[in-house]
Amino acid sequence: MFDNVWLIPLFPLIGFLINGLFGKKIKNEAVIGGIGTLMIFFSFLVSCGILMQMIGLPPEQRVFEKVVFPWIHCGNFKADMAFLVDPLSCVMIMVVTGVGSLIHLYSIGYMHGEEGFYRFFAYLNLFCMSMLLLVLGSNMLVMFIGWEGVGLCSYLLIGYYFHKKSAGDAAKKAFVMNRVGDFGFLIGLFTLYWWFGSNHNIWTINFTEIKAASHLLPYGGVVTVATLCFFVGATGKSAQIPLFTWLPDAMEGPTPVSALIHAATMVTAGVYMIGRMSFVFIKSPETMMVIAVVGAATAIFAATIGTAQNDIKRVLAYSTVSQLGYMFLAMGVGAFTAGIFHLMTHAFFKACLFLGSGSVIHSMHHALHKIHSHDDAQDMRNMGGLRKAMPITFITFLVSTIAISGIPGFSGFFSKDEILWMSFSNAYHGNLNIVLWGIGAAAALLTAFYMFRLVFMTFFGECRIKPEAKSYLHESPLVITIPLMVLGVLAAVGGYLGMPKIFGMLPNYFEHWLEPVFELATEYGSKYAQHGAHPSHTLEWGLMGLSVVIALVGIATAFTMYVKNTELPGKFVATFPALHRAVYNKWYVDELYDFLFVNPCKALGQFLWKGFDIVIVDGVVNGVANVVMGISGIFRYMQSGYIYNYAFSMALGVVVMLGYYIFK
């Protein structure tokens, strides 16, 4: 089965080619959607096979590399088109293909009747292929293909409604921001490659080889440089501070895209990458701290913005940013397993949330369309009380919301709580751990708040849609609800895979599974970890309880503000108008970037072109020509036509020549 790993990305590629090249001719939506969905489902099957095979192997043999064909061999540099199968990539392919299949299925219903139906499925398949390359790549360069490939697909899918200017802008923004990250990725790659090569004559970018040689890496220094660069790459892809602004804008794409790319898979690539190279990252305490701090900051920062958004998808988007922050926080405190675990659970519940919101929007859109209203189908202020009209959507949505809020028993609780606990108890960052935990907890509070705000505004209370449209609101078709239900279930129970040891009920399968992957990282980390008094179980229980309380407080607040006392938010806004405006406008980060980078770049470009290129560079060139022409004019008019002038010139020539030799 391992040998067939190349089939996993191949199937979506085939799907992409069929739909991309012939989709326009096929026209039949069922066929197109069927091909797209089946292809990714086949991949899922192969992934399952691989997973099964891997489970059957002893942990130390759970690594397999498959070279498909040689790619770039040049000098010392060698990069093959090769795939790496290990527990980590297994988790990822399962998530990608699994969630991917569901979302494909969902899209058949959701995208029904769209003009570029075939285009959508082609892109979606292409995305899956890229994502699979990313997670399966056995060297940094294959990973980078996927890395950029998902960026491309994200670009294509965000710009799916290309006739909308905002979609085009968002797509471009996404790609460019990702490119900023790629810049970091490349520099990191170069640094690592060069350091190993020039110092140890190991010229490699292969993960396994780097892993084998990772003991040669120093702590800090060059590793810090390299990992920080990689981390820049991760921030771009995973929408962390400072490169997060593209993700909310990316909601311009169709909702399944948001679910698949901007929640479940692509945006987690940064986390995956850090996990993949944990043995390098861990060697730089500085980087780890930066990751943790950035992660925590992003978590709280995005959460604050999430509290004030009215667009249903935007709330989810900021929530995603915030949750990604959690994952980075986990990575930063060395809790790689927890990070990956949260990645997985997040994929479940966030995909479910997005799909659910898609279902709502779909229904809203349909209803509004029927009454020819131009109201925004995504604005929560137009919704309310939808739970009756859309029960399945409501239930799955609620389950996922509970999961994300960290209510015990649901998947989010296990992963999130582990992160919080690890950030508190980690031994890497000294006294910073309290702060990290505090921020994490605060973010959890906000998460619970805005997520329930979302639920309350959407599904509870008065129905604020125009009354005549009300009758058109109805539950979505099965093709949409089935994925919702599957994901809802996963969101609910997925967490039991990685139940913390402290519960003592189930073994932490997830941790055991990933142990061979992060073993080395833990070993390296222990070199500089400050082994203080080991935090007691009591403390762990206490903190767990505290986080549950926090979640409940958040839910309660939301309930108060949006169900019981609906005028409270208005009052709040009236009391702190500046704060609200700042939060509502996403802390003006976009404007800041425009001010700092975009506008200066354009202005500089204008200046360089009009001011430098044309005036100075070309001016010098033309200036030389003009000077020569001017001299030409002078010479020309010296040719006066008078014989005596000519004779004078001759005589002068003679006199000067003679004079030179006589008086020299």
């Binding site: 030409s632 020309r636 040719q639 004779a647 010139s649 001759m650 020549m657």
Partner: protein, 485 residues
């Protein structure tokens, strides 16, 4: 004292000259009895005569015969230049008829005068005595004064003749004064003897009389080759003279000037090479720069070509300043190819121009490229060759000239030279711009290309392109020609 016994002389060295002189005189006679108006056959006869002379010249290759007690010599150097003169004259003869007919001054005396000019030039190239060279120069010049003013009904032609004459005789004054000083300083007018005497001097460069004589002589020849600052007659005379004569003047006399100057400096004054190199260095730079830069702002095509001709003298002077085998053989090659390309270019100018030379501006070339593509392509070849773009003879020539300078260590001279070439590209391109990239301003008149002109064009194109692609044989001849100096 006994009777003067006329010495027995070997006539071989001046056989071509004799043939041409006799032919010229015969033509003068034939002209008198020629049927009225029909002068074309004179051109054919002259052309045949020139070919015969060329054959005679060719048979002299490889010889080294001194004759007339050292007044004249037949050697490869002279032979090479004689071929160049004959090429120039042959082409000029071919392109004259149509033009002269159109301008209404088709006097039969034209051809004898051209032939006499050639005789004068040949004497300059083969003369080894200051007197021979001087007389050759004068035969050439006097003929040219007449040829420049040949179209006597035309004011421009009058003026050209007059200017050329006055300035020419002015320069002759300097030349003679220089010769006098050389004579005084060395006691002889025979070049070989001068060489011996100068060679015996302890420090010839300290003898200011010798150096001054050299400089003054250089002045005289610099005038003929149109080197700055003795070039100022060139544009005016070239513009005013009948176009075929301009073509001839730009190729023949320039080559003759170089021939004489080369022989003088390399045979008689090689010991002063440091001095004359220095001067030629400066002259070369001045000439190239003035010629090229002034040409940039010209509109009259004959003036453009005149300034270009000045510039080309400058390039040749670069090789001369180097004074080594590479540079001097480059001059020989260059002069020969220049004869082809420049006369070719003037031939096109003749064809495009209308009666009274009213069509002499670059603007009048507008649209030529597609109305008369063959003429335009031919012109383009000449222009590229003049600009020194490979694979044309002009490039190879320039290459050897600049290579000579580099070999001698005059790298900056070569650099100035190439920069000048680049600047020159502008005005050559300008003509092409009009030919190909502008629409004609007025209706294009169909120009009839007569057989002789067509023949001339074919020869000129062949002479421009073939040496550009396979220059080896001509270059080897040029090398041999300068080796014996």
């Amino acid at each position: 004292m006994d009777m003067i016994s006329i010495p027995v002389v070997n006539m071989t060295p001046i056989l071509p000259e004799i043939v041409l002189s006799v032919l010229a005189m015969a033509l003068l006679l034939i002209n008198v009895f020629a049927p009225g108006g029909q002068k074309s056959f004179l051109a054919y006869i002259s052309f045949i005569g020139i070919i015969v002379a060329a054959v005679l010249v060719g048979t002299g290759w490889g010889n080294h015969i001194e004759s007339f007690s050292g007044s004249v010599v037949l050697d490869n150097f002279a032979t090479f230049f004689k071929v160049t003169f004959l090429v120039a004259a042959g082409l000029a003869v071919l392109i004259s008829d149509q033009y002269m007919e159109r301008e209404g001054c088709n006097h039969g005396e034209l051809y004898p005068l051209i032939l006499f000019t050639v005789v004068g030039m040949m004497l300059m190239a083969s003369g080894t005595d200051l007197m021979t060279i001087f007389l050759g120069l004068e035969v050439m010049s006097v003929s040219l004064y007449v040829l420049a003013g040949f179209n006597r009904a035309n004011r421009k032609s009058n003026e050209a003749g007059l200017k050329y004459f006055l300035l020419g005789s002015f320069s002759t004054g300097f030349l003679l004064y220089g010769m006098a000083l050389i004579y005084g300083a060395t006691g002889t007018t025979r070049l070989y003897k001068i060489a011996v005497i100068v060679g015996q001097m302890t420090l010839p460069s300290a003898n200011i009389m010798l150096v001054a004589g050299m400089l003054l002589m250089m002045t005289g020849f610099a005038f003929k080759i149109a080197a700055a600052p003795f070039h100022m007659w060139t544009p005016d005379v070239y513009e005013g003279a009948p176009t075929p004569m301009t073509a001839f003047m730009s190729a023949g006399p320039k080559a003759a000037g170089f021939a004489a100057l080369l022989r003088l400096f390399l045979v008689a004054l090689p010991t002063l090479q440091v001095e004359w190199s220095q001067v030629l260095w400066v002259l070369a730079v001045l000439t190239m720069t003035v010629g090229n830069i002034t040409a940039l702002r010209q509109d009259n095509i004959k003036r453009i070509l005149a300034y270009s001709s000045i510039a080309h003298a400058g390039y040749a002077l670069v090789g001369f300043a180097a004074g080594n085998g590479t540079g001097t053989s480059g001059i020989l090659f260059y002069m020969l190819s220049y004869a082809f390309m420049n006369i070719g270019a003037f031939a096109i100018v003749i064809l495009v121009a209308k009666k009274g030379e009213t069509n002499g501006n670059v603007m009048d070339f507008a649209g030529l490229g597609f109305k008369r593509p063959v003429l335009a392509v031919v012109m383009t070849i000449f222009l590229f060759s003049l600009a020194g773009v490979p694979p044309a003879a002009g490039f190879i020539g320039k290459f050897y000239l600049f290579a000579g300078a580099v070999q001698k260590g005059y790298i900056w001279l070569a650099v100035i030279g190439v920069l000048n070439s680049a600047a020159s590209a502008y005005y050559y391109l300008r003509i092409m711009v009009y030919m190909y990239m502008k629409e004609p301003t007025e209706e294009f008149e169909w120009v009839h290309v007569t057989a002789p002109v067509a023949l001339a064009l074919i020869i000129a194109v062949a002479g421009t392109v073939i040496p550009g692609i396979v220059p080896s044989f001509i270059l080897q001849y040029a090398q041999m020609a300068v080796k014996l100096l």
